[in-house]
């Protein structure tokens, strides 16, 4: 894959894989599964993708893209505009500062780091939504959602690794 028009096209296609995976997960996560009570605790799939790609390829998922992803999610899901961009940018910043710690360590460490990030994101979301509604809301739904997200991380993490190897390593 050295130079050439098609080579560049190919490389560009590979480089948008992280963004494409994150957007696809966001849309899939919105599909109604018709399970009672599921919508409230549906795992935050884009958060998993964001975490993985910021650790492994932050050059392909810039902070501004994370902001844009959050904006799209807010517009689609009816959450107050700006709330999800705030969460994603803070997550991005948090992960990037600890990136060297997670990179190359075991999967268990990667999972543990994600647990911290997921609960942190849940807390920021809960705080922002409480402030926007001018009342202290129950933190339980955000906690349950974070827990669900952490529990379901391994299969998605494995999938990200496969995509990472398939498209971005030569």
């Amino acid at each position: 894959m050295t130079g050439g028009f098609w080579g560049k096209i190919d490389q560009a296609g590979r480089n948008i894989a992280p963004l494409a995976v994150t957007v696809a997960l966001m849309l899939i996560g919105m599909a109604p599964l018709h399970l009672p009570g599921y919508a409230a605790i549906a795992p935050a799939l884009p958060l998993m993708a964001l975490y993985y790609w910021v650790i492994h390829r932050p050059d392909l998922l810039r902070p501004s893209l994370a902001f844009g992803l959050g904006l799209l999610q807010d517009l689609l899901s009816g959450t107050p505009l700006g709330m999800t961009p705030l969460i994603y940018v803070l997550v991005y910043w948090g992960v990037l500062t600890q990136r060297r710690f997670f990179l190359g360590t075991s999967f268990a460490m990667l999972w543990f780091g994600f647990a911290l990030i997921a609960f942190g994101a849940g807390f920021v979301g809960w705080l922002a939504y409480s402030i926007l509604n001018l009342r202290l809301l129950s933190p339980d739904p955000a906690l349950m959602q974070a827990l669900m997200t952490v529990v379901l991380f391994p299969p998605f993490g494995w999938m990200f690794m496969r995509i990472h190897r398939a498209f971005l390593q030569h």
């Binding site: 399970l35 935050a44 932050p58 902070p63 107050p80 700006g82 991005y92 990037l96 190359g104 971005l168």
Partner: protein, 294 residues
Amino acid sequence: MKSRTTGSVVRLAAPLRALAQRFSFLLLVLAAIALMMVGKIDTVLVEGMRNRVTDAFTPILEAISRPAATAARFVESVHDVINLHGENERLRNENASLLRWQQAAQRLDAENRSLRSLLNYKPELASSYITARVVADPGGAFVRTVVTTAGHRDGVRPGQAAVAGQGLMGRVVQVGEWSSRVLLVTDLNSRIPVVIEPSRQRAVMAGDNSGQPKLLYLPGDVSLAVGDRIVTSGHGSMFPPGLPIGLVASVSDNSVRVQPYVDLGRVEHLQLVNFGLPGGLGANDPAIGAGGLQ
């Protein structure tokens, strides 16, 4: 992870880049906060953006929701087969009691008609129904909404009631060209004037993001029992009176909770109802901006 060898990642770690990056994070955080304020102040602008983006993504969401619905239906059919015997028994009993109700209803219907003919009674306004598919329930931990496939071109207008099966689900808060968003009765911002049927006591049913909304503004001496029927009161010209919502699920000193008839997590198709009320909530009614989505 071999990605560390990639050139651009190493360059990223340069101190200059790090400094610029830190500033960009600060800017992005401030931009997010600014957006939240814009969303609070200029709801019309934000609504317009939401409509356009939801319209654009509805076909994709619809395509994704079909296999999800198929999978859900499969799980349900397995579940149904397991419960077949018990269900049959239950339906037999229900059928017997419904036949008794049918007799009562026919008698009351005849009586009602003869009494109406004695008075100069004005019949209720005709209503039309728009059926739509639920293609997304994207709210996450904080918002209870669903996105449907009917929009402005199908006759959906903000403020219309969404009903499914036996009762009220919520109301339309956002209408795009071919998509719309329904705020469920369980959402934190949902407020619906209701009547408790046996006592005709009025109250406001307020969602709090749990599965069972609360009743507000009840007087202290009201007589309430678990199982009392809750219907819309028709006040505020939002919904017509008498639309069934649910049953009183629990009564304690400081809160009365209502279990909606509709299993909100499992609705696949819903009906948006145009009752043709003269004073219905329009798009520019301030009540929507205040109580609805930002």
